[in-house]
Structure formats: C-alpha cells, structure tokens
C-alpha cells in the first residue's frame, strides 16, 4: 500500500511539474513590446512617461497576415496604411491628393498614366524611394494580379505594367480604359525594389516591413494587436505628435466597450445599441451618432423562370416592408431611394424609397398569381435583424418568406451559385463610388440574379471606362433611375446610423462611409488629451 501511495505521489508530482513547465512556455507569445501600451490605468496603463501612446481598435476580424496585398480584409489595409505610402493619397470619400507621386496624369485614351514622383523620399532603412521601386511594385502586381495582390486586383484589372522614364517619372501601361485609375493608385503601397530582389514576395512573411510610411513596424502579436512607432525621419516631416500606436483586434462588443471605459483602448466603432448607455455621460469620451453602415439593399433573382422574374413580385416585396422598422432596431439612419448612398458619384437624390403600402403590395401579389410558395431569403448572421423585419412585414401581406442567416463564406457561395430567391445585401462604399457594384453585381452578374437589360448594361459599360467622376455621373444616374423603375435587380433599403466613440483629444481618424477606421493621419490635441 505504501508503495502505491508513493508511486501515486510521484506520478502526481511529475504531472504537476509537467503542467507547470508547459504553462511557462506560454510566455513565449508574450508581447515583446510590453509596457508600451497606452492609456488606461490598468491593462494599458504602463505608458512610458513623456510619450504619447494611443491604443485604437476597429476590427471586423483579426489581422491574419503581414502580407497585406494577399487579402481583401480591412485589417490588412489598415495595417499597410501605417507603414507604407500609397502612390497618391485619398480620403476614401472620392478626394485624392499627392503622396509619393506629386502629379499623376491619365492619357485621353485612358491607356497610359504618367507619374511624377517626389524626390527625397526615404524608406525606413534610409534608402531612397524612386521610380525603380514604383515600377517594381506595379510590375509585381501586374505579373499575377489575382495571385499577388487580391487587395488591389479589382482596381488594376487593366494593368499591363510600368516603365521607368527617369529616376522620378514612371509610365503606367493599361490594356483598356477603366474608371479606377486614381483609386488604384491610392491603394498601391510601394515597397523597396532592393528588398524585393533580396526576399521576393516572402519579405512580409519574414517581417521585412520596410515602407516609406509615417509609422515604423514594431511588432505583431497574432490575435491581439500590431504595434507601431512614429517614423521620426518621415520624408514629409514628422506626421503626427503620437509616438506609439497599437491597433488592437478586439471583436467582442462587450469587451470593446469595457476596454474603452477602462482606458485600455481609445476608439470604438459601431457600438451595439444596448451598450450605448454605458458610454453616455462619460466625460473622457466623445460619443457621436453618424451614418455608419454600408449601402444596404435587396437583390432579387429575377432571370427567366425565377419567382421574381415577374416585376409584380418585386413590387410586392418593395412596397410590402417598412424600412422604418429596420431603422427602429438600431439608432435610425437614412432610407434610400435608389441603390446608392447620399453623396455617391451619380447617386440620384430626387428618388424616394418605394412607399410602404401593404394593400398595394397585396394587389401586386395577386397580379403576380403568387400561390404561397416559400421565398428563400439569405444574408449573413449580422443582418438577421433586417431579414426578420422584412420577413415579418411580408408575412402580413401573405408572402411566405423563409430567412437563412448564414456565415460570410456560405453567403458568398449561395450568391455566386444563385441558390436564393432574394438576399439582403450590403456593400462597402469607398471613394463614394459604387461603379464597381454596378459593373460586378449588375452587368457582370457575379451574384447570379439572371436579370438582363441591354440599355443598363450599355450605360454601365460606357461609364466603366470613364475615370473623371463628373463625366461618369450622368450615366450612373441613368442606371440608378432605370433600376429603380424596374424594381431590380438591386433595390436600396437603408443606410443605418450608429454610435462611434473616441477618447477626447484624439483627432484625425479617417472614417469611411461604411464606418471603417483608418488611423494613419490621427493626432492628439495635447491640451485635451489627459492620459
């Protein structure tokens, strides 16, 4: 018996030791930048004295790769902006201004672009940034646009390559005219040709993050944050009075608000409705209500033989649900007339949303000969409220709608394969330009609506070639009007409002129409910033 107990004791002791050792190895992932996190009095409260440290958060998902060109995830673009400079700058609201290129021109036929680059631009390692680097970057993108650079692929569909004219002049060759020239330039982040020669496109994986941007890369803790320090030698002069920035990737709503209140982070976008009261009245924070969601719309599958081929069915839906009910679930917002948001290029302001009229909707339903068949409506889980509201309203007019809240991956495949009757869609509005939506979702029909209108397609095709927004706007207006009259294939619903919150004194955060943050240009008003 004694021997058994002794053995048991030994086994337990060994197991405990093993457990403890294994636990110690956890320290391996501890942030190397410990102690530099900003703000709060607890978690991030160890900010170095005399330094301005800002902890920000706006994440739809965590950063998954330093190879930012490889994905279309917002976190990656946000990361790239801090370290790299784009060829030209943009506010994602349709305004562009010089950055690495001080001038940029597009030839009349839209096939050649000419860039004049700034002189004296330096990479973080002190080497010069000139035409060689811009040419290398553009040629690398052009070599395998789908494989190398999904981030910018849809903007550079026509890119053939680039040539060096002299050290500070670059010629860009394109195969056909496309409206995206400036957008593409503003999303092209230039890397060093020397690094590329040395590491190839493995440079990001090897953490060779040598940009020309206003911040230098310090660290990335997968699942937690990326850390940056100001580039003191930024070629355009010190960009901000902030010394260190951490971009956190916190996705849980309660945690975001708690961290904000505890002082661990300094920003928060799209706060859940039920959490807003926690922030109200806090004197350290600025909470503002603003339009914060993307263009929301309903798309019908309305090709030959589909339930919504009959315009009366589409009319029944659009007159049969009340957009107010959707907005009441949130903090209000705007009801859209056409399938575009206010201020977008070519958006038609004089159209009002289809009048909510259940009796009229019932009439249309009768005219369509609807016999109670099940209508399958899809969206992502994040839009379950919207679908439930539409479903409830349509049930009142006798339409049998079954909703399917699915994850993003399934939603993508359902739409591509056309396995829906209608879906509740949403689209990020960047550069105040929905041209890509018209091209991809209406003309090219990437989401399989099956609807064809030759006139609409011709307008879109023509507009797609025009880079100048003012020239393009009339054609886009025609498209929006006709889609409105035809009740499809895409009908606008709402743009929701939401609260976003920043710590007082933190300024200059760029926010897109869809409520996405970019932190490159932020700074601190030191008189107000009390941390």
């Amino acid at each position: 018996m004694k021997t058994s107990i002794k053995k048991l004791f030994n086994v337990s002791l060994t197991a405990l030791t093993a457990l403890s050792l294994a636990a110690c190895s956890g320290g391996g992932t501890a942030p190397s930048g410990g102690g530099t996190s900003g703000g709060g009095t607890s978690g991030g409260g160890d900010a170095p004295k005399g330094k301005i440290v800002v902890n920000v958060n706006e994440a739809e998902s965590t950063l998954t790769s330093l190879d930012f060109y490889k994905t279309t995830i917002h976190s990656e673009a946000q990361f790239a902006e801090m370290i790299y400079d784009p060829i030209i700058n943009g506010d994602r609201d349709g305004n562009f201004w010089p950055c690495l290129a001080k001038t940029w021109e597009l030839s009349d036929d839209g096939l050649t672009g000419t860039l004049t680059l700034e002189e004296g631009v330096k990479f973080h390692d002190g080497t010069d940034c000139n035409a060689d680097d811009v040419v290398t970057t553009l040629n690398w993108i052009a070599a395998d646009i789908n494989g190398n650079a999904p981030l910018i692929a849809s903007k550079w569909l026509n890119l053939v390559g680039a040539e060096k004219i002299d050290d500070y002049t670059v010629k860009i060759n394109m195969s056909y005219p496309l409206h995206t020239f400036e957008q593409a330039l503003s999303g092209t982040y230039v890397f060093s040709d020397e690094d590329f020669d040395k590491y190839g496109d493995q440079m990001w994986a090897q953490k060779v993050l040598n940009g020309t941007g206003p911040y230098k890369f310090v660290d990335w803790i997968d699942g937690q944050y990326t850390e940056y320090k100001i580039n003191e030698d930024y070629w355009a002069g010190r960009h901000s009075n902030i010394d260190e920035v951490k971009i956190w990737y916190i996705t849980e709503a309660n945690t975001i608000v708690s961290s904000l209140l505890a002082g661990d982070i300094d920003t928060c976008a799209a706060i859940n409705t039920d959490l807003v009261p926690m922030l109200e009245g806090n004197e350290d924070l600025t909470t503002e209500l603003r339009l914060i969601d993307n263009l929301n719309y309903i798309q019908f599958k309305c090709g030959p033989g589909d339930t919504f081929e009959d315009i009366n069915m589409r009319k029944a839906v659009m007159h049969g649900f009340n957009c107010e009910n959707i907005l009441n679930l949130y903090h209000g917002g705007t009801i859209l007339g056409a399938a575009c948001t206010e201020g977008d290029i070519g958006c038609v302001d004089d159209l009002e949303h289809y009048k909510y009229d259940p009796e009229l909707a019932k009439q249309y339903l009768a005219e369509a000969g609807y016999n109670g068949e099940t209508i399958h409506m899809y969206s992502t889980k994040a839009y379950t409220n919207e679908m439930t509201s539409v479903q409830g309203d349509l049930a009142k007019i006798g339409m049998n709608v079954e909703i399917h809240p699915v994850d993003s991956a399934e939603f993508g495949s359902v739409r591509t394969n056309g396995e829906y009757d209608m879906f509740y869609g949403f689209n990020a509005v960047t550069y105040s330009d929905l041209m890509a939506v018209l091209v991809d979702r209406v003309k090219r029909d990437i989401h399989s609506h099956g609807f064809v209108d030759e006139e609409i397609n011709a307008w879109i095709e023509e507009a797609d070639k025009i880079s100048d927004p003012n020239e393009r706007a009339p054609l886009m207006q025609k498209v929006y009007r006709k889609m409105y009259d035809l009740y499809g294939p895409i009908c606008g619903t709402v743009q929701k409002a939401g609260y976003y919150c920043t710590r007082k004194g933190l300024e200059g955060i760029t926010m897109t129409k869809g409520g996405k943050f970019y932190f490159r240009d932020m700074y601190v008003d030191e008189d107000v910033w009390k941390k």
């Binding site: 018996m1 978690g43 646009i145 999904p150 661990d264 994850d407």
Partner: protein
C-alpha cells in the same frame, strides 16, 4: 506497460487518420469557398478560378486528400490559406496561450476543487457539505459568457484593477486572473460534485464498513481506502476537462482577446481555411488522445486492479 503504450499509440494513429478524413470531407461538403473568401466580394470568376488553382482546390477530392494525408504522416500540416505560412507555425504560436490558460486553471482546480469535493463527501450532511453543494449549483448555473463579461465589468470597468484585454503569458499574471477564473469555475464546480459523489459512493461500500469493523480510525479509512478509490472517476473526468480546455476555450479567448487556438479556429472556419482547420483538429485530437492515455496510466497506479490491456 510499454506494450500497452505502443498499442494505444497505434490506436491514436487510427483516430488521427479518421479525424483527418472526417474533417477533410466535412469542410469540403460545407458551403463556402476559401478562394472567394480571400479575393472578396467583387472577384471575377477568372480570379476565383486562378486562386483555386493556386491553392490546389480544383483537384479531385481524393487526390487532395491523398496529398494531405501523405504530408500529414510526414509531419507536414500544410500551409494556411489565411495566414500564408505553415499551419504548424500558426498552431504552435497560438497553442502556448491556450495551454497556459488551461494548465493554470487545471492546477487551481486540482488544488481547490478536489479537496472540497472529498471533504464534502466525507462529511455528508454537514454545514460544509451544504455550503459546497450550494456553491456547486450556483457556479454550474452561471453561463461562461455572462461570468466573463461580469468579471470585466467588475474588475476592469468598476474597480479598474485588472486589464480588460491582452495577454502577456506568465510575465504579467494580472492578464490571466479573469480568464483563469472564467475558464475554470464550471469545471471546478463539476470536480467538486464528482469528488463529493465519488466519496459518498465509496463510503457506502462494504469494504469500508469492514475497515471500521477492524477498528481502523476514520482518518486511516479516509486516506488509505476511501480517498484512493474515489479518485478514479475524478482523474478520468479531470483529464477530459483538461483536454476540452486545450481544444480551445473559444468564449474566453474571444472575450479577453487571448491569442489562443480556439479563437484562431473560429477565424479559420469563418474563412474556410481548410488546411488550418484540419490541422487544428488533428493536433487537438492528438492532445486529447495523449491526455486520455496519461489518465489511464495514472489510474493504474491508483488502482492496481485495473489491468493495462
């Protein structure tokens, strides 16, 4: 013993291959396309096709599986679509956080829950037993999400003594306090209950009555006979609970922003990162099997009647 371990390792290999096939098949049967997820909403069919080719997703199902399992047997877990580098690297960069959280919780459970359970069982009907039972019911009735958020509100927002988010391993334990509590309290309650009922069961056995009849003291009966036999179900359950925690405490990791394997897996599933999901499941299955093996070995030390066969 060696024969027993080798035999179990062989079974483990079969389990791993079975899990690799099931996860491989289920992922490909589920709707969604990793290429489309990578390229975003406005990708053209040509772009998607090119990406599918690059990722090897346009090959026949069995060809893909054969390549995967051959590489797996060589120790190559593949390359993560989402991260762009080896799955092994991704998983092993995330595993320490989950392991730290799980093992610290496990140690605390071992130190606190088992003695409480055993004492409560030995002193059935006492005030201590009543108190322990009430505590167990209370703890088991509270959802993990609720407790995790409640802890945040109390310790970070109201008292402002603990950080709301972040993880620095053992170098800064204050980041672990709330996650460990939230991770362990339900298991702790379960272990107390199991310890109590195990002890009560053993105490009603005939051989215990015999030991009293032989004139042994209560202390000797408890320590030499009852405790040892009550331990068997406890160690089994304890092993299972540790395995479960190691597979990823998704809720805890999400709420406290801990870079563990659970939150990584959720992200990988959402993006249909086939290689990473498959590899994570295989790795967790191996950990599960290893812990079960250790528990079985420990049980043979506790009770010699249990044969290693």
């Amino acid at each position: 013993m060696l024969k027993f371990i080798l035999k179990r390792l062989f079974y483990m290999l079969i389990v791993v291959i079975a899990i690799s096939f099931i996860s491989f098949a289920l992922l490909r049967l589920s709707p969604g396309d990793p290429a489309m997820m990578m390229l975003g909403d406005n990708a053209t069919p040509e772009m998607v096709e090119a990406m599918r080719e690059k990722l090897g997703l346009n090959q026949p199902f069995m060809t893909q599986y054969f390549i995967y399992v051959t590489n797996l047997l060589k120790g190559d877990l593949g390359t993560s679509i989402l991260y762009g580098y080896s799955c092994k690297e991704v998983i092993f960069s995330r595993l320490p956080a989950t392991a730290t959280l799980s093992f610290i919780s496990a140690i605390i459970i071992l130190i606190i829950a088992i003695p409480i359970g055993i004492i409560a069982g030995a002193k059935q009907g006492s005030f201590f037993d009543f108190f322990a039972t009430a505590l167990v019911v209370l703890l088991q009735s509270m959802s993990v999400v609720w407790v995790a958020i409640l802890l945040l509100l109390i310790f970070s927002v109201k008292l402002n003594i603990l950080p709301a988010v972040g993880y620095k391993g053992l170098s800064d334990p204050k980041y672990l306090v709330m996650p460990v509590i939230a991770c362990g309290y339900r298991t702790m309650a379960m272990m107390v209950r199991m310890g109590r009922s195990g002890m009560i069961d053993v105490m009603s056995e005939d051989y215990i009555k015999c030991t009293y009849a032989r004139g042994m003291s209560k202390f000797d009966v408890y320590t030499k006979y009852a405790f040892k036999n009550a331990l068997i179900p406890i160690t089994t359950l304890y092993g299972l609970q540790i395995s479960g925690m190691l597979a990823g405490t998704v809720v805890i990791e999400t709420v406290y922003n801990i870079p563990g394997i659970g939150s990584m897996l959720v992200n990988a599933v959402g993006h249909r990162d086939y290689p990473l999901v498959q590899s994570s499941l295989v790795v967790t299955a191996i950990m599960f099997a290893v812990i079960t093996l250790i528990v079985d070995i420990v049980n043979t030390f506790i009770d010699r009647r249990m044969q290693l066969n």
